[in-house]
Amino acid sequence: MTDPPKRKVHRLVPLALLALGVAGMAESSRLGLGAPVQPGPGMWPLLVAGLLCIAAAVLLFVDDRRDYEPWTRRSLVVLAGLLSLVVYIYLFAYLGFLLASALMLGTWLRLFAAEPWKRTVPLALVGSVALYLLFEVALKVPFPDGLFALAGGQ
């Protein structure tokens, strides 16, 4: 079993959960707890956040370091993938489904799947058109029009 490089890093996760629990409890009590006979909006979240605090506090001590995967260079690929998804959402809103999807499919196929261009381009084009037909035409999802509307698509 390979050891993760830093010994204490894995304690950060229970700490973050504990912080979330404490914040949850604070916000719940602000919401109003009500009386036991008629619990207010904050009562249930308070109980739940309390449960989270207990579990997180225990995890601070019992969490098994072997549960944690090492971070590798490929973890950066995943972060890049996440970032590209955020970019996609903005493109989707401003360029419309078809254009944004073709661009993103192309990027993902080339970068993440490492497909050669001769397969990337046709797959991206055919794929985005096929999904456009499926969602917009067949399932009647009103996608943002974007630039496609200017091109006379709608």
Binding site: M1, L17, A55, I89, S101, L131
Partner: protein, 554 residues
């Protein structure tokens, strides 16, 4: 009896029949594909079900679930790659049969066993449905609190990650479910002024993010290549001797799978392991196991299908999802305005009996279709994972937008995709979180009503005979299942180790597995989830061995 006939009558509608087919077909496909399990698939397809009738939606999703149980068999037998977790034990004898040139009968007996197990479980479901429903209508709010607590506790206790981690995730799920407008006094909670949060987080977006995007991101991190099947598959129908040899295993597998499936936290993995252990124990010559004993394929495959069918009993009769896949189906029902509860059979008989009837037909379809289609399914394995991942991401984004036509939900998916990936990296399971997210609102409402009934005394949960009884059952079940699981896991571990050792001496590691077998050491532990369990030589020494952590199959 006329009720079930009504269910069958629905299947006369060609559209409904088509959904059964689409469900089992997609299910088989994702069962074959390592990396995309039934949980992720059902999560990704939730938006597609919006346009369907509730009964049709559930019929299709159910088909995906039990179809995937069969699909996982195909790659286990042919390539020693369990496409989903419940099929890990099938690799032991199934792949040995393939090497002996008996891939056909291995697949055939698995199909027959799955059909028998699934069908027997449906019959039991049909018979049990009404009495269970009749008992359940006597439940009041305290009973619901007790039941949901039981469901959550069993899932966290019996899940594959550490109990405390699962409990923490369940708490996060409960907390997330309180975001939005308070159901009783209408004040807004944890919305931080965000208009899009007033209705709470969308279940579909959360599930798609955690399971769909999270899983894809996690698979991006590992580089994997396509697989090719070299063996020719012939004589798929098992001969008379095969059938005679596996008759007992199929019967025992059906029973075992059924009972484990009904229990919360049971599910496919435990039932197939239990069946394998049982068959090996009963065998006159246990040394045949791991070398192509047909009972070692027939028993577990029967058991995992029986359990995936039986898992519908708590959902359809009590309104409680016993595992994550059923929690997603629960969510799908809510989307359609159908709240699963003991009243389901009365209020929505078309959903209730339609799903049950569809299972008879779906199991039959799997039996008839899968055998000739095996060749087609294994071709799918040649498609590279990167291509599948790219397209799945796109479908996810388009799909989640289509739910509310709101770009905000797309951000929610990406956020929970990140969370899901980070959870996998840190050994947390998304299953309890999603289940808690679904159960949260019901729990809260029932809790607040109970407190009203009892004049603010929390003793009500223990003093009422029904809810008290449920809680006592919980304690007993936790102890019982915990012990059972410990025994099974230990036994499976030693067995896997033995098999691995035997495998080592019998043949060198390079011979098998092709490209999939070479995985850098640092990645082994995680990959063990599905691809490598059967392939690694040192499986027995690892923490997850023989018991892969696939979220859909707690």
């Amino acid at each position: 009896m006329s009720d079930i006939l009504g269910g069958f009558a629905q299947l006369l509608d060609p559209a409904t029949l088509l959904y059964v087919f689409v469900g089992v077909f997609i299910g088989t496909l994702v069962g074959v594909l390592p990396g995309l399990g039934p949980t992720a698939t059902i999560a990704l397809l939730l938006p597609v079900t919006y346009t369907m009738e509730p009964a049709q939606a559930i019929i299709m999703l159910a088909g995906i679930y039990y179809g995937s149980m069969y699909g996982g068999t195909i790659t286990s037998v042919l390539l020693r790659l369990p496409g989903e977790a419940a099929s890990v034990v099938t690799t032991f004898d199934g792949h040995a049969m393939t090497k002996a040139g008996r891939a056909g009968p291995a697949l055939g007996i698995a199909a027959v066993g799955s059909f028998v197990g699934g069908t027997l479980a449906v019959i039991a479901l049909t018979l049990l449905a009404e009495p269970m429903g009749a008992l359940a209508v006597r439940f009041g709010p305290p009973e619901y609190v007790a039941l949901t607590v039981v469901g959550l506790m069993l899932i966290t206790y019996l899940g594959t990650s550490s109990t405390w981690k699962a409990l923490a995730m369940a708490a996060v799920g409960l907390l997330l479910s309180t975001i939005g407008t308070d159901p009783i006094d209408g004040s807004s909670r944890f919305t931080f002024g965000q208009l899009s949060l007033f209705d709470g987080l969308d279940f579909v977006a959360v599930a798609m993010g955690l399971f769909g995007v999270g899983e894809i991101l996690h698979s991006l991190e590992r580089s994997e290549t396509g697989q090719a099947v070299k063996e020719k598959i012939k004589n798929v129908w098992p001969d008379r001797k095969d059938l005679r040899d596996s008759r007992g295993a199929i019967a025992r597998g059906s029973l075992l799978g059924f009972f484990i499936g009904v229990l919360p936290g049971g599910g496919g993995v435990i039932s197939s392991m239990a069946s394998y252990a049982l068959e090996k124990r009963r065998a006159k010559d246990p040394s045949r196991f791991g070398r192509g004993a047909i009972e070692g394929v027939a028993g577990p495959e029967t058991a995992n299908n029986a359990s995936s069918t039986a898992a519908f009993i708590p959902l359809l009769t009590l309104g409680l999802p016993p595992n994550v896949v059923l929690a997603l189906i629960y969510g799908a029902l809510l989307i359609h305005g159908v709240t699963p509860s003991p009243r389901l059979v009365e209020d929505h008989p078309q959903v209730f009996w339609g799903v049950i009837a569809s299972m008879y037909v779906g199991n039959l379809m799997l039996l008839i279709l899968n055998i000739p289609l095996v060749g087609l399914f294994v071709k799918v394995l040649k498609i590279r994972q990167g291509i599948i991942a790219s397209f799945t991401l796109l479908v996810t984004m388009a799909g989640v937008y289509s739910v509310n036509n709101d770009v905000f939900d797309m951000f929610v998916v990406v956020f929970f995709g990140f969370v899901g990936w980070a959870m996998k990296k840190t050994g947390f399971e998304p299953g309890p979180l999603v289940l808690a997210f679904v159960l949260g609102p019901i729990m809260e409402q029932a809790f607040r009503q109970s407190m009203l009934i009892s004049d603010g005394s929390p003793a009500v949960f223990v003093t009422r005979p029904l809810s008290g009884g449920i809680l006592v059952t919980l304690v007993v079940a936790m102890i019982g299942m915990g012990l059972l699981r410990r025994v099974l896991r230990r036994r499976a571990d030693t067995e896997v180790q033995q098999l691995a050792e035997e495998g080592d001496t019998q043949q060198p590691a390079e011979e098998e597995g092709g490209e999939g077998a070479s995985v850098p050491v640092g990645q082994q532990r995680n990959d063990g989830q599905q691809r490598n369990d059967g392939q690694q030589r040192n499986v027995g020494q690892q923490r997850n061995d023989g018991q892969p952590r696939k979220d859909g199959q707690p």
